[in-house]
Symmetry: C2
Subunit: 329 residues, 2 copies
DNA sequence: GGCAAGCCTGAATACGTTTACAATCATCCT
DNA sequence: AGGATGATTGTAAACGTATTCAGGCTTGCC
């Protein structure tokens, strides 16, 4: 190598100069560093990974980009991993069927670990990762029974929180607008709400729709519900944008007052939920906590590959604002 | 290698089996593939990169994550690069001073190209990339004179559009709220507005503030402007969130009507700008066009490293909604 | 049958590191 | 002085793949 030649040392010395804690004389190290600087040399991490049979890369598979404020999750996850000395290989998962192919792709880069946001993993892929000793963590998917670690929210708890909140305020006809059916903790939440509402005297689920995702969809949905005389007096949406669409639909299209005539609850507490124009009651999405668990789970398994999968369920809080009535009646 | 042994062939044959277009008999290829499948073998891209002296990785450096709807830029850029056979190595640039270090980090991975979103590059780093033949493209920074290709918006054009729009509607006291001073095309836009407004009889810039970024900041800013009797009759904000904060501040805190008493214009036309609650006039951020240019510039230079840097300036359109008065008077 | 022309294949080398091992050297102690 | 100790250093062998080269095989043609 040129640097070794210019510094008048062996390649091994160059390697040691760039390896923290290696046995090298300060003077030699400096000579190497100067030679490297004049030649614009950067160590080839690729070659290092090859011989160490493991890279400092972590595969990050993203799906459902626009949900839950995943930008922040992506950003923080990246920053935390960088702080731990890893680099992120980012992949966008377009279709659920592609997730296996994506995992295989990043495995080819000898990634040290894999994080999957908003997708589940087929069993055979989980097996391949396990066999190679590559730890995997799923975010916003529950890994129970799949052999994967996961960090998600407690859907049943969430459902009970919402049902109790609405029932305590004497709402009797509750509509549920779900965005994506494949986010299992949200389905859990929907079911939990349904059960508890059905058990309350005089209360019912006015409607339960799937595939209602985004502002326009929410606005359209509330219009349709009111046209069909299935008028609910409360709506829970699995995404804030949908909920805001519902509020605007009620106010601007139907002349229905929020929260007097219709209570609206969103989910994930995006920044826009706090805006004065909507003051949307929502469910806090504990991004920091989710990320902390992710990092902890991955690092622990990089340290000890034999650890069992860990399933974390976080209990989220309701953030109460004025799109719902103030006090329990 | 195990796979070669199981298939009863040489390692070279395995390599050829996984190299599209290589000279290998169909039967042999199939035997190799079957052996690979049973062993769960994936080719080691790291080793391939080593020998080919170039990886299929592209460094993607992100800054200002929450501005301009960069999520979509990040996502689409990733997807386009994947479609071209590249993988993305993502880095978060926390401070402008870190950008050099980030570039060096990704260079160690022998990246084929680098895209930098929302940061400029110091000259010496540009030189290092050029020397290595690694093409670079800056997004939302103008590369003129720096030796970098770049894709950005035409700030002067943008400024003139806005100034002309407001002046034609007889606004006379215009306030400018800038988020980050380091986005050079926005500074260009601000200057262009100032010039043109100053040149118009009876018109003036009522205020020009920097560091006003986000909903809360916008809401606070409009309150302060009105308290200090620097009342503007029109505000241009460099970010939609800020503009929405201004609208809400005007309506809910000051009782000022939008657009009758105060016209508000945002920038980058996020989804929330279209919501019925605000109907914010904004500047379209041409994401697809920006990304198309990025990809085109990088691919062209991967093909021919000798190409000169190219500076693209896109002229953005105004999206007119009801946070500004309808017709020119 | 003999020959040329292709197609496949394996052996060997290279890619830029890390690391075990051995060798060198200075230092210090007895 | 002589040996032991420890710090530094170089040598050489890996890591898993791509690729050149030469040789073996098949095929088709005269």
């Amino acid at each position: 190598m040129d640097v070794a030649h210019l510094a008048g040392v062996s390649v091994a010395a160059v390697s040691r100069a760039f390896t923290p804690g290696a046995s090298i004389a300060p003077a030699t190290k400096q000579r190497v560093m100067e030679a490297a600087a004049t030649l614009g040399y950067q160590p080839n991490v690729i070659a290092r990974s090859l011989i160490q049979r493991r890279s400092n890369l972590v595969g990050l598979l993203m799906s459902g980009w626009n949900n839950f404020g995943y930008v922040d999750v992506l950003r923080r996850l990246t920053e935390r991993l960088e702080a731990e000395g890893y680099e992120v290989i980012l992949k966008s998962v377009l279709e659920p069927e592609q997730v296996s192919e994506c995992v295989r792709q990043v495995l080819r880069y000898q990634v040290a670990a894999i994080a999957v946001v908003s997708e589940a993993l087929p069993a055979e892929i989980t097996a391949e990762c396990t066999q190679r000793g590559v730890p995997v963590v799923l975010v916003n998917r529950i890994g129970t029974g799949s052999g994967n670690s996961s960090v998600s929210l407690d859907g049943v708890y969430l459902g009970h929180q919402i049902a109790d909140f609405l029932l305590a305020r004497e709402h009797r006809r509750i509509a549920l607008l779900q965005g994506r059916a494949d986010i299992n903790f949200l389905t859990d939440a929907m079911n939990a709400i349904s059960e508890r509402v059905a058990a309350a005297a005089g209360c019912e689920i006015a409607a339960r729709l799937d595939g209602v995702l985004g502002y326009d969809a929410g606005r359209r949905a509330i219009n349709e519900l009111f046209q069909q005389d299935q008028r609910p007096d409360a709506v829970f949406c699995t995404f804030d944008e949908t909920a805001i669409g519902v509020v605007d639909g009620a106010r601007f299209d139907l002349g229905v007052r929020v929260p007097e005539d219709l209570a609206v609850i969103g989910n994930s507490n995006r920044a826009s939920a706090a805006w004065a124009s909507h003051e949307l009651t929502s469910v806090e999405y504990p991004r920091d906590e989710v990320i902390d668990h992710c990092i902890r789970i991955l690092l622990a398994r990089l340290d000890d590959p034999e650890l069992e999968p860990e399933v974390v369920l976080i209990k989220p809080d309701l953030v109460i604002r004025s799109s719902t009535r103030g006090k329990p009646v």
